[in-house]
């Protein structure tokens, strides 16, 4: 004869096994990372309010990036020139290319240090390159130009791709995203992706489920897994809220800053796609952070509503 106790045991076991826990699941043991001692960085938050899609267009992507900071070998490194090369890189590997810390284009020839470094053109070979006055601008308006008050004489700095650089890269100067993969050409170069390859945005070099384009948004290296401890610490967090009118507020938090934030350069790229033509449009803006910005939140209204689309400097209130 059966006893209720045995019945209960059976049911308990049945439940236990049916749930699957303890039977087949392997505990998710993560190996200790080399950089398990990475210190949480100082961060800040940017809020872009009152964004409304332009008529006949849909919102496509938002990229926010602190150009003054780059992750290198699981550490945050400072880039005084804000051009995608850290001061360490410029002093170290950058030597044969004649790169100087603090300058976007050390020899002022119109070809940026980043491009010379990536394409391996030595300082002497750079003499053969020439950027004419016609091609020194940016036809697609995807560059930031600003006068850098930290340098003697506050020269104009150019963060982006000049027409001659795009020509050199065999890209169409009129377009800010030549392979139409969603990532603007300049951000692709900075991230180590190829602006001529349409396939490299949605795959994951590191093989994890975070595609490259997401890593570009989070500002973590595309060739490292996103779940390593430093990369989790350094990942930007994007949040979108809608209000009753359909206007959006983008909140980008956990933006790592160095030196307490002072002189950190926050670049913002927002793209829209015109439904009828498939054409992409760019809205870009930048903020140069002031002293003690770390830990704070900066709020701006979307700059595109006032008619200025690109290279808009946002002044922290």
């Amino acid at each position: 004869m059966s006893t209720p106790r045995l019945d209960a045991l059976t049911i308990a076991c049945l439940l236990l096994c049916a749930s699957g826990s303890g039977c087949t699941q392997k505990p998710e043991l993560q190996p200790l990372m080399e950089a398990s001692l990475a210190k949480p960085p100082e961060t800040m938050t940017v809020q872009i309010k009152k964004y409304q899609e332009t008529k006949d267009r849909v919102f496509k992507h938002l990229f926010v990036s602190n150009f003054s900071v780059k992750i290198d070998q699981t550490k945050l490194e400072y880039s005084a020139s804000r051009d995608g090369l850290t001061d360490l890189q410029k002093n170290g590997e950058g030597a044969p290319y004649g790169l100087s810390v603090g300058f976007v284009d050390s020899n002022s020839d119109g070809f940026s240090d980043l491009l010379m470094y990536l394409s391996g053109v030595s300082a002497t070979n750079q003499l053969n390159l020439f950027c004419g006055s016609v091609l020194r601008n940016s036809s697609s308006n995807d560059a930031f130009t600003y006068s850098d008050s930290r340098l003697p004489g506050a020269p104009t700095q150019f963060l982006g791709l000049r027409d001659c650089e795009k020509t050199y890269l065999q890209l169409n100067p009129e377009s800010f995203d030549n392979d139409k993969d969603g990532i603007p050409d300049y951000l692709e170069l900075r991230a180590g992706l190829n602006p001529k390859n349409a396939g490299d945005a949605d795959i994951s070099i590191a093989g994890d489920p975070i595609p490259n384009i997401e890593k570009v948004k989070r500002n973590i290296p595309v060739d490292e897994r996103g779940d390593s401890q430093p990369n989790q610490l350094f990942s930007y967090v994007y949040k979108t809220d809608f209000d009753a009118t359909g206007a959006r507020t983008f909140t980008i938090s956990n933006i790592p800053v160095l030196n307490g934030g002072v002189d950190n350069f926050i670049a913002i790229y927002l793209t829209e796609n015109e439904v009828a033509t498939g054409q992409d449009y760019l809205f870009s803006a930048f903020v140069i952070l002031k002293r003690n910005s770390a830990g704070g939140t900066l709020q701006f209204d979307f700059w595109g509503n006032s008619g200025s689309f690109t290279n808009q400097e946002l002044i922290a209130p």
């Binding site: 004869m1 087949t24 990536l118 394409s119 391996g120 053969n128 950027c131 994951s204």
Partner: protein, 554 residues
């Protein structure tokens, strides 16, 4: 009240079974594999990206310079014409001399030079040091440029006769003939291994291609891009695809430059831009006071960094078959043993009937691995359409075809499958062709779909490949199978290389001698978009850890 009313023996039996099921040993997979039990390996690979290297090739510069009289003092004859764009040659010839002098030292004598002038027609310079096509001696060539510059460069009536026309087509035809003759000369040389030549044509002009109107007509005819110019450029670039000469040509590009004084002519800018686009080259324009920069047209020596684009780990001896089971495939041809046995082919031979087309490709093309039901030689399909792919035939009548791109599908198979035999990744999605074929993904040029989710399970086919899941069924239907996790960490960087530690775990294996393959795909960081593939293979020998190091990758 709950009363299950089971008898004691039944109760004990059921509870015992269930309790037993809780321990791992008794949990049998649902016979994914009909032949052996699923085991798991861990792939641990350490490697660096390839060093930035400058490939050894001959660089052949061909300068096509406008020498019509619009450059000359005394021009224009018509008042609204732009006059005197380069009366003393300092905008065209001086920077060319400077370019030659600035060229980096070339101990391997890999740089060659040639020049064509054009006005009414294209013609070679009066002083011509190059006999067969191009001159390897930079100083000799410089003397040609200087002679052009100082001599006829400043005279008003140069020879041959210059009536002020600008014949683009004639100049381009001459360039085509020159390159063809040079490639034929290279093809006749006994230099081995073959050193390929990269031809860089630099076309410099200050105006539109106006020539005298043809027979019977009077006035001026302007050469049309589509009708007159593009065909010549296409013929020139097509030399690269010539069955014989193509092996000696790595690249032909046509860069163009427009120089002007005062206002630029929009139609000339548009035309030269079109020509550069058609010629795989760059277009540059130089306004008043700016000299033509040849260096800007031919980027100087560079060593482009390589980036890792993707890494795949595969077990070459397991196949997710069409019915959703993971099956053993001893010969690694992509057709599981079970299917091979059923259809009469040899599970231990990739190409059972020896016709040069593997069992799997034949199966995909025709529904059976061999035309002959017993896979005999006599009734096999000899695929005579592939005779042009240089098959080698052994005494036993076994045919093998070369695999130009090294992707595991030979040239004949790629022809039959309509993929590109010269690209390991025919559709540019970074998934090598054979990997795509084995996993039921598109690989024919122009097709895509790796990022789609055909099963609607939220996991793209690309990600399934990374997770080791079948692409042909929903992930939720794959039971008792451990998904892979890929962890890539950057280790160090030195001398233009990035080094990585890749760990993929767990990777399913069926048996002790499974070959584990790791495929690395690299691409140039900037400028060129030419992915390269490196492969390493190791056998799984019941040691759970399969390690790869830099030297294993070919």
């Amino acid at each position: 009240m709950i009363n299950l009313r089971l008898t004691l023996p039944a109760m004990l039996l059921s509870s015992g079974l269930l309790l037993g099921a809780c321990s791992k040993e008794h949990l049998q997979p649902l016979q994914r594999s009909s032949l052996s039990t699923l085991e798991y390996a861990t792939v641990d690979a350490r490697f660096c990206t390839s060093a930035p290297t400058v490939a050894r090739q001959k660089i052949k510069y061909l300068f096509l310079l406008d020498k019509s009289d619009s450059n000359q003092p005394g021009f224009p004859t018509v008042s609204e014409d732009v006059s005197n764009t380069d009366s003393n040659g300092s905008r065209r010839y001086a920077p060319l001399v400077q370019f030659l002098r600035n060229l980096p030292a070339d101990p391997a004598a890999a740089s060659y030079f040639s020049m064509i002038n054009f006005n009414d027609n294209g013609y070679y310079p009066k002083k011509k040091t190059f006999i067969q096509g191009f001159d390897p001696n930079e100083e000799n060539f410089e003397s040609v440029v200087v002679a052009e510059w100082v001599g006829v460069g400043t005279t008003i009536s140069p020879q041959p006769l210059d009536r002020g026309y600008t014949n683009y087509v004639s100049a381009l035809q001459l360039a085509r003939n020159l390159i063809k003759a040079d490639a034929q000369y290279e093809a006749g040389s006994i230099e081995r291994p073959i050193v390929t030549s990269s031809y860089r044509i630099m076309f410099v002009s200050d105006g539109m291609p106006n020539v005298p109107a043809g027979r019977g007509a009077s006035g001026i005819y302007t050469q049309d891009f589509t009708r007159d110019i593009e065909p010549v450029i296409a013929q020139t670039l097509a030399l690269k695809n010539d069955p014989v000469l193509g092996s000696y040509i790595s690249e032909i590009s046509l860069g163009t430059a427009y120089y002007f004084t005062g206002a630029q002519a929009p139609e000339a800018v548009a035309l030269l831009q079109q020509m550069a686009d058609a010629g795989n080259g760059q277009f540059m324009k130089f306004g008043a006071g700016e000299n033509v920069m040849y260096g800007a047209l031919a980027p100087p020596i560079r060593s482009i960094r390589n980036q890792l684009v993707d890494a795949f780990a595969e077990n070459m001896n397991t196949v997710w078959w069409d019915d959703g089971r993971l099956l053993l495939d001893r010969d690694g041809d992509g057709l599981p043993d079970e299917v091979e046995q059923r259809s009469g082919s040899d599970p231990s031979a990739e190409d059972s009937d020896g016709n040069g087309v593997s069992d799997y490709v034949e199966y995909r093309l025709t529904g059976k691995p061999c035309q002959d039901s017993a896979c005999g030689r006599s009734a096999r399909n000899n695929y005579s359409v592939c005779d042009g792919f240089k098959p080698s035939v052994e005494a036993s009548e076994r045919v093998t075809f070369p695999d130009t791109d090294g992707d595991g599908l030979n040239d004949c198979e790629e022809f039959l499958l309509k993929s590109d035999s010269k690209k390991f990744d025919s559709n540019d999605d970074f998934i090598p062709d054979f990997t795509a074929l084995r996993n039921g993904l598109a690989f024919i040029p122009g097709t895509s779909g790796a990022l789609a989710q055909p099963q609607g399970d939220g996991i793209s086919s690309y990600l399934k490949l990374k997770l080791g899941l079948p692409t042909t069924m929903a992930a939720s239907k794959v039971l008792d199978y451990q998904r892979r996790a890929t962890a890539l960490d950057r280790v160090t960087a030195d001398a233009g290389k990035e080094c990585y530690h890749l760990r993929i775990d767990p990777l399913a294996v069926l048996g002790a001698d499974n070959r584990i393959r790791v495929t690395l795909i690299e691409n140039a960081r900037v400028i060129s978009d030419k992915p390269v593939m490196r492969i390493a293979e190791k056998s799984f020998a019941r040691e759970p850890l399969v390690t790869f190091s830099e030297g294993d990758f070919q």
